[in-house]
């Protein structure tokens, strides 16, 4: 017959471990895709953190995934920076997706300077979102980007090939984009369990 033990006492003795409460999201950053928003713990992109987008191949859906968020950000007057994109952002399509081109900046940098440029953009806090395509990013440089995104409270997106999914990463969110079938798989999301089921891609033209 156990004696009545007060809960406070147990907690004070550190014998009962209490799960850490979720950090309150500082600002809601919906992705613009209802199914994806529902699956993510914060109801959208993790604010002021690095999100990794793992692509099956070139041109298989990172823009479909990001365009709604970028359109919302540029519409709010925030600046979106593309650091060394692999291809030319084609204005008619970006405009058709609702993006205000006046708020879009394109930084041309060699591979070794690109990470520096991304870090500067993130740290400055003057951008709404920074997109980059790191060629060979190791754990260290991704962690730097993650810290810079926290410092500048900016959304950071790193698009990488899907082979990188095998390595651990400090990113707060990792989404794999599959081309066939067209779907998203959340591999890791900070503050919650990653949903098992893949999410069907929406907005495919």
């Amino acid at each position: 017959m156990g004696a009545v033990v007060s809960l406070d006492g147990l907690l004070d003795e550190r014998r009962v471990w209490k799960g850490r409460p979720l950090a309150q999201p500082q600002g809601l950053q919906p992705t613009g895709h209802a199914a994806l928003d529902a699956a993510l713990p914060g109801g959208g992109w993790p604010p002021s953190a690095l999100s990794e987008i793992l692509l099956a191949a070139d041109g298989c859906g990172e823009l479909q995934l990001l365009w709604p968020s970028l359109a919302r950000l540029t519409g709010n007057g925030e600046r979106v920076v593309l650091v060394a994109p692999p291809y030319i952002p084609y204005p008619p399509a970006w405009q058709a997706a609702g993006i205000d081109l006046r708020q879009l900046a394109w930084i041309d940098a060699a591979a070794d300077e690109a990470l520096w440029a991304v870090e500067q953009c993130l740290r400055s806090g003057s951008c709404g979102a920074v997109l980059c395509w790191p060629k060979k990013a190791d754990d260290r440089s991704l962690r730097r980007l993650q810290v810079a995104a926290e410092t500048g409270q900016t959304l950071a997106f790193a698009c990488r090939p899907q082979q990188a999914a095998l390595n651990p990463s400090p990113a707060a969110l990792r989404i794999a984009v599959d081309a066939r079938p067209a779907q998203w798989r959340v591999l890791k999301c900070r503050g919650g369990l990653a949903p098992r089921a893949p999410i069907a891609m929406t907005g495919q033209g």
Binding site: W67, P92, A105, D108, G125, S126, R180
Partner: protein, 472 residues
């Protein structure tokens, strides 16, 4: 009117010392012909060694060995004086360099802006100290009195004609700027102070001494006005720093560069202007052309720290081909400065840099063309329908046919097997007027791995499909 006099007692020495980063090294200024070199001025560590101004160089070398000799350069002092006038022009509309090694400022009219006088004076002193200059400041009711009181006082504030007169009457007779023979004559007559001279009958004074003496005394007490040539700011900035030794590394150039840019910032603030473009000349030994580093900015800027950061970014990329002797900074493009409006209620509390500063920083390291915007151009040819632009105008987008988000810089030939045509053909036929004629049928395709692309085939050719974009 109230006049402030800023006396710079060791301007020539300070002009050399401020360009050096070793304040504890004994240093002397030399002047005179080659046969008889004389110490023009000595700094404090040199004074501690027993060196004095006026000694000959051989005497000095007998007394001490470890000291640095620098040639006295009147041109550099003159240039510094012009810079100081530009600096003082921020505080007053009437600045005069009438007396050597002294600045005269009319401050009554700007007291409302910078005053009261103690605060104004403290600010002047702080900025002069930042510029690396020793100084004495005196306030008086007329410019001549201010200059002469500065001979004996520091920090005196005689804010009305009465107190100025009181202060002047106590001045020793040899310190008030009278001609040397007149001052000596007064002293021999047993008149040591100005009040004793003033007690003499005016007519006898006029009879015994040259007219200049009476005129000077009248000006001193504000009875007769004095015409002063006032300073007019220059339209361009050109400053040069001699390094006195050969510099081969970037690091060693940074200190003199910081000095030059601080001078530039002081000059710009006095004009209430900014700088859009300046050129840094690295002057090598005779015979070699200068290395030029052009620093261009997108918007006018005048904050010293930021300008230094940008110039440093440009300088660090440079290969220094030969030792650098002198550093020169020229700025001719000096537009009006329009400060960037900051946000009062920042969405992000930690926003450290605004976009303009970030852009300058990126351009400094990555190159002038590195940061661009994208602009849509009304053209049917895909490769002509975009343009990178620094300022993007809003272009109303018209809902058109579906276009890919990514465009390849060069079209790639695409192997045909496994391709599935999703839509097409869409014919684009344009450009016959400018020589880049295009006649193509565009298809939306899907590859075997599920990527969706945009490819074309030239009309009349049976060749491969050319991939031009990805529907990512």
């Amino acid at each position: 009117m109230l006049w402030a006099c800023i006396l710079l007692p060791q301007l020539a020495l300070d002009s050399v010392l401020r360009a050096r980063d070793d304040p504890d090294t004994p240093l002397v200024l030399l002047s005179g012909p080659a046969q008889r070199r004389v110490l023009q001025a000595v700094n404090l560590p040199a004074r501690a060694l027993g060196l004095r101004a006026g000694q000959s160089l051989s005497t000095a070398q007998a007394l001490a060995r470890e000291f640095v000799c620098v040639e006295h350069d009147p041109a550099a002092v003159e240039q510094l004086q012009q810079l100081l006038a530009a600096w003082a022009y921020r505080f007053s509309g009437q600045v005069s360099l009438h007396y050597p090694r002294a600045l005269l400022l009319e401050v009554q009219s700007t007291l409302g802006l910078f005053g009261p006088w103690p605060a104004f004076e403290a600010r002047l002193r702080a900025e002069l100290t930042d510029l690396g200059l020793r100084h004495r400041i005196v306030l008086a009711s007329n410019p001549v009195a201010a200059r002469m009181l500065a001979n004996a006082h520091d920090g005196l504030a005689a804010s009305c004609a009465q107190t100025t007169r009181q202060a002047l009457l106590q001045m020793p007779i040899d310190r008030v700027g009278l001609p040397a023979d007149a001052a000596k004559a007064f002293e021999r007559m047993g008149l040591r102070r100005l009040d004793q001279v003033l007690a003499l009958p005016r007519d006898t004074l006029a009879r015994r001494f040259a007219a200049g003496v009476q005129l000077h005394l009248d000006r001193l007490f504000g009875l007769r006005p004095m015409a002063l040539a006032c300073y007019l700011p220059a339209d361009r900035f050109d400053a040069r720093l001699e390094l006195n030794f050969d510099v081969e590394s970037h690091q060693a150039l940074l200190f003199p560069l910081r000095r030059l840019i601080a001078d530039l910032a002081a000059f710009l603030a006095s004009r209430d202007g900014g700088v859009q473009r300046f050129i840094l000349h690295l002057e090598h030994a005779a015979g070699l052309p200068d290395t030029e580093v052009a620093v261009g900015l997108l918007a006018a800027e005048r904050e010293a720290g930021r300008l230094f950061e940008l110039a440093r970014g440009r300088l660090e990329q440079l290969q220094i081909v030969a030792p650098v002797r002198n550093l020169r900074l020229c700025a001719e493009d000096l537009p009006a400065f329009v400060p960037q409006p900051g946000e009062l209620f920042n969405a992000r509390p930690q926003q450290q840099q605004n976009w303009e500063q970030l852009r300058e920083r990126l351009r400094a390291r990555l190159g002038d063309e590195a940061v661009q915007g994208v602009q849509a151009v009304a053209d049917h040819r895909p490769e002509c329908a975009w343009r990178s632009a620094n300022t993007t105008k809003a272009l109303a987008s018209s809902p058109g046919p579906l276009r890919p988000g990514w465009l390849l810089a060069e079209p790639q030939a695409l192997p045909l097997h496994g391709l599935r045509l999703l839509a097409g053909p869409e014919r684009v036929e344009s450009g016959w007027w400018d020589g880049a004629d295009v006649r193509r049928d565009y298809y939306r395709i899907e590859t075997a791995s599920g990527q969706r692309g945009w490819a074309y085939r030239r009309i009349g050719e049976d060749g491969p499909l050319w991939l031009q974009g990805w529907f990512a």
